[in-house]
Amino acid sequence: MSLIKKAIDWGTKKSPWIIHFNAGACNGCDIETIDSLTPRYDLERVGILKQGSPRHADVLICTGAVTLQTRDRLIQIYEQMSDPKFVIAIGTCACTGGIFEDCYCVTGGIDSVIPVDVYIPGCAVRPEAIISAVDKLLGSLDNDKKEGGGNYES
């Protein structure tokens, strides 16, 4: 039994499939996210595949300060993903709201809506930082056997 569990844990660490959602970013971080999949940075090296359907994905890669209009959709996508699931907040605006924090139409950061596992500040984040964040996320799975997908209030 534990062998199977080990194998599955290993698989989870080696194959994080991502889905990308823009919750009101300026594009900068989104493009850098896509950029990290293209030849120069090639995240497929570490097993990352970009998926279109939330059902197939393990990691929600989220950019932007969460505008009021995307808020519901963000929650919906998060709920559609199957456990275990993780969230990476990409960019300063996704971490805290950043430069848009004072805007009347944003809630200010991904973690004001759903739980976030890794924060990557940067405006725009560099693909290197994304690679390193993925590394840290997968590393954190080792330490505390995190299940991901904690509770949240919507």
Binding site: I8, T38, G52, S82
Partner: protein
């Protein structure tokens, strides 16, 4: 007793199920790796397909409330079963398949049609918009490639005069030059196989940018894992079938033939990858046009040619 164990061993370990899944993982890896390398990327590590599979097995499976739960959960297994059963009729080790009888060709062709049908049903009964469109497209695409595919696979049998894959391979292995007669249908078969596998440029049933991932949008966890596995096995199945029919060069020494088999499958995979790399997605109605306007006439011509040749040879 020993005989029985031997058969079991053949069925489940080599060249049966275990070999099928291991080799299909390997092919999937090569597929992705070469694809990446042709795009100037590094690509995934060798264990990637296995890791993907294990991870999906460990994930929670969600069955959407709207979907028909039974069909939704059975279809991946149907798909997988069809491919595995079909595989035992294909010659891997030398020219002998694990099982063969005089009409196995027809069975194999039927089994070949099941995975797309399973995907269609899965998509249709997911009852989501994207999956419905994906399912319709699968059916449309089947309508496009089935006829050219069947005819191009059947044309070589006309010369050999047999309905058994093992005998067919045996016949062509004995007369290697005859294979060149079948070159036109080999090409059409390659194209229709690509079409059948829903790989680019014929991937509109799962076109990511249009309908997300087509019929399988709603799948997750274990069920998705089985669908992926079935798809990998289908790739190997189709490639093996192709090599059995169109590239039946044999030496007669079993292990050399096995190595030859590996070489042949890799070569066919390379061709399939090249097709995937170099072209943009073809729209579904253009696929339909292409299959009926170009592929079907070529295959029909070959059938007539082969019928005539049969009298001569």
């Amino acid at each position: 007793m020993i005989e029985f164990l031997k058969i079991l061993c053949k069925l489940f370990i080599f060249p049966g199920f275990l070999f099928l899944s291991v080799y299909s993982f390997l092919l999937d890896f090569l597929d992705r790796k070469l694809y990446a390398r042709m795009q100037n990327r590094v690509g995934p590590p060798w264990y990637q397909p296995l890791a993907d599979f294990l991870k999906l097995i460990g994930k929670k499976t969600i069955i959407p409330a709207d979907a028909n739960a039974v069909i939704f959960s059975v279809m991946p297994l149907v798909s997988l079963a069809a491919v595995t059963v079909g595989f035992i009729y294909l010659p891997v080790l030398g020219k002998e398949a694990i099982f063969s009888f005089s009409g196995d060709f027809v069975i194999v062709l039927y089994l070949l049609a099941i995975p797309p049908l399973a995907a269609f049903l899965a998509g249709w009964y997911s009852r989501a918009v994207y999956s419905t469109i994906g399912a319709t497209r699968i059916l449309t695409q089947m309508f496009a490639y089935e006829v050219p595919l069947f005819i191009s696979v059947l044309a070589p049998t006309l010369i050999a005069g047999t309905w058994s894959i093992t005998e067919l391979t045996g016949f062509y292995a004995a007369h290697p030059l005859y294979i060149f007669i079948n070159l036109p249908v080999a090409i059409t078969a390659l194209i229709s196989f690509q079409c059948k596998l829903e790989r680019a440029p014929f991937d509109s049933p799962e076109a990511e940018t249009e309908i997300v991932s087509g019929a399988l949008v709603e799948y997750s966890g274990r069920l998705l894992a089985f669908f992926k596995l079935a798809h990998n096995c289908e790739l190997l199945f189709v490639i093996s079938l192709f090599s059995a029919i169109y590239l039946p060069f044999m030496t007669g020494i079993i292990w050399v033939d096995f190595i030859l088999y590996i070489v042949k499958t890799l070569f066919i995979l390379l061709l399939l990858i090249l097709m995937r790399v170099t072209m943009a997605r073809i729209e579904i109605n253009n696929t339909l046009n292409f299959c009926w306007k170009y592929l079907a006439p070529v295959t029909l011509g070959q059938v007539i040619l082969n019928l005539l040749l049969r009298g001569v040879l």
